[in-house]
């Protein structure tokens, strides 16, 4: 992690390492408040500031180390950008499930090539919403 940060031109500070650690241990995407809450549980990182969390999330997202996810919530959620995938979010609770689908990715590639206005599609967001078994 420390090296990845450096390779991206970021300084490997304790705050950044701690935030990345929290994200790496989470099975689900987290928002700034979640991360701050986790940091407060650890005496060593108790004083990491809200602003630092936001600045870190933005910086690492631009560096493509993190991915911002649309969960139809008021706040922004982030996860480590590892393997490309999408999500199904429950509109009733915090449940979330990952999925991936090669056919969809292939079809999206074709759309890119077929567009008359766009020459380059750099990214896409595909999020499903519904009710999990507990909520329905």
């Amino acid at each position: 992690m420390r090296n990845i940060l450096k390779e991206m031109g970021f300084k490997a500070t304790p705050a950044r390492l701690a935030i990345l650690y929290v994200l790496s241990r989470s099975k689900t995407p987290l928002n700034a408040e979640d991360i701050l809450g986790e940091l407060k549980k650890n005496n060593k990182h108790k004083k990491i500031n809200e602003a630092t969390v936001y600045r870190t999330l933005s910086a690492l997202e631009e560096g493509t180390l993190l991915k911002r996810i649309d969960r139809r919530r008021e706040s922004a959620y982030f996860e480590l950008a590892k393997k490309h995938h999408h999500h199904i979010s429950c509109l009733g609770c915090d449940a979330i499930e990952d999925f991936e689908n090669d056919k969809i990715e292939a079809a999206l590639g074709r759309i890119t090539r077929g567009s008359y206005k766009f020459s380059r599609i750099t990214d896409h967001s595909l999020e499903l919403f519904g009710l999990c078994k507990k909520c329905s």
Copy 2:
């Protein structure tokens, strides 16, 4: 339009009709500020308030008359919910293009059925981002 509102249990007020009119005439999704700007151009609707626009957009979105679109901007964009489709948004300017793809929709249906946590997927958001020919 007047009748559609009534059928949905909404009162057909001048403000709502004007907002729907603005959206119906637009070729692209609009945010609250855009709509307010359009309304101000018409003497008859000059005094429609910001709060009214926001309340109308929320209400009509819940009534499924409008669709909220993720354009990776600070504000929320809306369009009339007619035929199901998705968008490609330019990250460099306001360019936007619609697309639809039956194979993707079919694959999404299969994902819904294959989920182990979710019993019902009610909706999805699929947005592509890139640079239009002018911006690249």
